[in-house]
Symmetry: C2
Subunit: 336 residues, 2 copies
Amino acid sequence: MTTISDVARAAGVSVATVSRALRGLDRVSPQTRDRVLRAAKSLDYMPSPTASSLASGKTHVVAVVVPYVTRWYFAHLISGASQVLRDKGFHVLLLDVRDEGPNRATLLDSRMLFKRVDGVLILSLRLQQPERELLQRLQMPVVTVGVPDQDWPCVRIDDIATTSIATEHLIRLGHRRIGYVGGDSVPAMNFPTPADRAKGFRDTMGRHGLDVDPGSFVMGDWSARSGLDAGRELLSRADRPTAVVAASDELALGVMAAARELALSVPRDVSVVGIDDHELAELHGLTTIAQPVDEQGRMATRLLLSTVAGLPTGHEVATVPVTLVERRSTAAPPRP
Amino acid sequence: MTTISDVARAAGVSVATVSRALRGLDRVSPQTRDRVLRAAKSLDYMPSPTASSLASGKTHVVAVVVPYVTRWYFAHLISGASQVLRDKGFHVLLLDVRDEGPNRATLLDSRMLFKRVDGVLILSLRLQQPERELLQRLQMPVVTVGVPDQDWPCVRIDDIATTSIATEHLIRLGHRRIGYVGGDSVPAMNFPTPADRAKGFRDTMGRHGLDVDPGSFVMGDWSARSGLDAGRELLSRADRPTAVVAASDELALGVMAAARELALSVPRDVSVVGIDDHELAELHGLTTIAQPVDEQGRMATRLLLSTVAGLPTGHEVATVPVTLVERRSTAAPPRP
DNA sequence: CTGAAAGCGCTTACAG
DNA sequence: CTGAAAGCGCTTACAG
């Protein structure tokens, strides 16, 4: 292994000068720099990242903390984030904390972060108090995605507005009896997304003077499987809704599958609208509210890196716009 | 920041002893160990990973190299790998190299690996010669997944056998005119999977004396979208097949969507079988050949860690079994 | 513009 | 069982 001293010797300068020349710092004469670069190249020199981290305190690594790598939303956030990190010369430390709900144990601990990363990206995760304190104590630059935070900046969509757009779309088509899949009636600890999306639905219905039948408001955990279960329940009722708002595309695909099972035609018998614009939404002609997930990952990462670089930061919330994508799963309600 | 010296001072011993006591090495008296642990705890001491890496040469980090984080197969491999790494006290450095096909630039370079990780997991990726040499030069422990390798161990399924099982299933049901979606007729450089799956299909058809109509053999890039396109082409032919083998569930879902568009009923008019057992396969009643992806990630990681720990390793190939999961998308062919 | 030297915070032979 | 000391390979004031 060739070290910085080998390069210094070969170039006939001190290690300090090699260090400066290689990192492109000023106060090095062009000739010297050239000699150093030449020597480094001919020796195939590669600085030891652990040595420079120890000396400088910087790691050029960012932790990306996520509850489920396999879910569509998280995979795309990771993808966007890793793209800009790579471009900026940072590495991705993936912290897959497998969230187990609000009562999970504290999953982020200091051995994952201390002296290991320069910053932390928290992807739509409920932080526990001890984790919050840990991050503060380590003075770690942090940016969150999805869930606005009291302490750090956040990039997200407006969940209330999003379901509102979906609901308005159905109402505009003439629907009055509309079901909802994906609700959490009470806000989970620190995790407002399900409740916000449900609220967007309820509020919009209310604004139009429409009832929300409690029976047409079904839980789900964002998976297609639970969408299927919810859809079966919802669509086999005597007074079944003429349309359904689902809190995610995967839920919506489940609802559509339930409709097929029950020999109901979409959109003739029932309209379905989702949220996300999942790859499979197009395939199934699912009308949805598209959100730019990769882009949220990229934005959050840029924000984080500017904090890491020392720029001041508050806890501002960047809300990115969503768009209605009309496809074949929504239409006017059937004539009674 | 409290360091090892603070702990040594508080415990009244040398830093060497603290180091040994904290890492659980032998040759430390129980009383001393106890004093050290007590001191460390009361000072809330946390060793600096970069300092110990520099001194020991070990990082306790493993690189997971993947071409696409967002695809089902890769996300699940990552998930399985990160699970066992976490359990064993290792960290995951995610290297998202965004594979651009056989002619991509060299994407793994030494600054990603040198002195940064203890081992590398290569997930179904074509390695280029320079990358291969880099890994050799760094004497990096390596395990690959999906693609057998000349130099390192591999965990994978038998791709030829997998499509063979799918094809046999259809033949057993009475199908004779069977189409295939997902083929690459020539093996892509270093990436035999598509060709192997196609071969499994062709060989099986041949064994049963059945023709493979070139027109019923359609390309696809494993995405649902390309499955839709392939399905449209295949199923709108005059002599359309009575059944289709798709090289992945996402492709198969695309084919099923194409069938719906063409008002063909699955399985009455056409049977469809996929590979993977994707979450959405169940939802759509898709018959498939299930492969345990998380488990392959776990197995590969265990193998890698044993190499990292110094156990000898060759380039053996571990082939994990697949299973036919019969659902509602396959049945006997329609009566002529 | 350049160098000598201290320091980052550990681990690891080597003695005893 | 324990300690003194060298060493891992850089960066960073501090001088000049």
